[in-house]
Amino acid sequence: MSAALAPDAPALPALVDRGGPAQPLLIVDALRKHFAVAGSLFDRRRQRVHAVDGVSFVVNKGETLGIVGESGCGKSTTARLIARLLPADSGQIVFDGDGVDEFGGMALKDYRRNLQMVFQDSFASLNPRLSVLEAIAYGPQVHGLAKAAAHARAAALLERVGLAPAQFGARYPHELSGGQRQRVNIARALAFEPRLLILDEAVAALDKSVQAQVLNLLQELKAERGLTYLFISHDLHVVHYLADRVLVMYLGAIVEIGPVERLYGQPRHPYTRALLSAVPSMDPAHRTERSPLSGDPPNPIDPPSGCRFRDRCAHAHAACAAEAPTLRETAAGHWAACHLDDPGSGHPEAPARVAALARSA
């Protein structure tokens, strides 16, 4: 796929859909990443930050999967593991049916064409010494495109994201606003013609009005180019707007995953419920009286035994400390990891809830 190109090749070779529409574009299987705590070399108990603890999910072709959670829940680490910017301790990534960076699978460089990422800090994402055009053209050149062709391509992409090449092409990052820089970052990611785009809090640092423009741009691009998005955010409104399915993470593990409307409408996991109820409402009749989350924010070093959320959960019980819940499908495509949804878990409230769910289905 990355064969040497003729010097006057106008474009990178198109990427082929190998698996067909039913094959998920991305399968993440049991990703695990623990960090050693700095300075723990001489401590007898070597403390580890359980940043990502056995995360598994799929991303279907053409969808937008939103990943939400508090700071420190492991969303960004997961993104970096998927992008292979960090080596995973264990786990596997399968892209369109091919194992990534494995024997018999897809080479890393090819993977780098299929998957791109847009980061949160638009300024730190750009080399201050390269002009906008040079920054965008760098990637295609790495994959074999001639310099002139790469620059032409960069100019076209700049145009597409709404920045006139004649006016912005020669500018440097410090001469652009935050929103403009993020467009440049999007253009740079698109220069590879990727199939999957990871957006790691890509609009979080922008003003609301600028956010709206960038989000619209992202929607257009997705429709135009048949892209698949992995959208990481802590902003539940934005995720609601963009995502088809949502994945909720807590302390390095997935607690709930499901279609956006169902998840927002009938959240199963207590944490999801707490998150959603914490979102302020415009309706004065629905004031938030009490903080839905009790207890202290989590410490990713040595998480609690059993269910990680039990320290802050209003429904916590002895069964929650004994065993960690696994993801169970409570409705079509809607999975939650909570003992309350498992009639055999030993939690006293479980049978009642399962019955209520069956009735409402």
Binding site: L85, R112, M117, L126, P128, V142, N185
Partner: protein, 309 residues
Amino acid sequence: MNARLETALPDALDAPAVPTPASVVPHAAPRRGRWRGAARQLLRDPVTLISALVLLAIVAAALFAPWLAPADPYKASMIRRLLPIGSPEHLLGTDELGRDLLTRLMYGGRLSLLMGVLPVALAFFIGTAIGLVAGYAGGWLNMAIMRTLDVFYAFPSVLLAVAIAGALGPGMSNSLIALTLVFVPQVVRVAESVTTQVRRLDYIDAARLSGAGALSIIRVHVLGNVLGPVFVYATGLVSVSMILASGLSFLGLGVKPPQAEWGLMLNTLRSAIYVNPWVAALPGVMIFATSMGFNLLADGVRSATDVRQ
């Protein structure tokens, strides 16, 4: 022995300022904008301007000595020893062997300036290369390089320079080697520190995501952002190098007679302080003036390229 004092301060005869994160990345202005703005600011500062001009005069006098000098630097005359300043035909007097001092000072400038600039230039290239590797690679390679250099950092610069030069023996090339070896660890420290900071930034991740190899990333993305701060640091080392080099000659470890070099001249003229003290002090004035000129210029460059928030 680690980069302990991250304030913008020099230690005389040892490492000048380690660039603080604020002055380095990620808000460093890029090529064109930065240098134009820096040049403008430099020209506006009178102190920097004057020191630059004085320095230029000294360098020019040294460079064009064979054409500008009034006399032969090696021509001795026993009758005309230690003539005072302002003597006819000898504007700045004569030294202990009757040679014209003005000429000797001009010729001396060539070697003294060379000994000041060359070790720093060599250390700049060697140190940046090592620092880039150590900073980009990280992990055990970084540890191995930095801990080895820490051993050299455990020596005060003067002692290390004297020890190496003393071990190698007198001579200009030996002094050059000694000084370069003294400065390389300091440059590596700065280069490694800046490289490590740059490496953590998102645009390096983005570059890695593009599938580029490490060499390409270092060349395109890291090098340009590292050279600037390291260069600014290195300019501060030039005056230290000059003083050390002349010091080595003063001890008899550097340039050998009858060559003209300011430190060596201070040595040979020492006994003359009882006869003609001001002539004996003149070579040191040149070292002082040049060193101060470099320091003020380096300060000016540093503050001009420092992007204020």
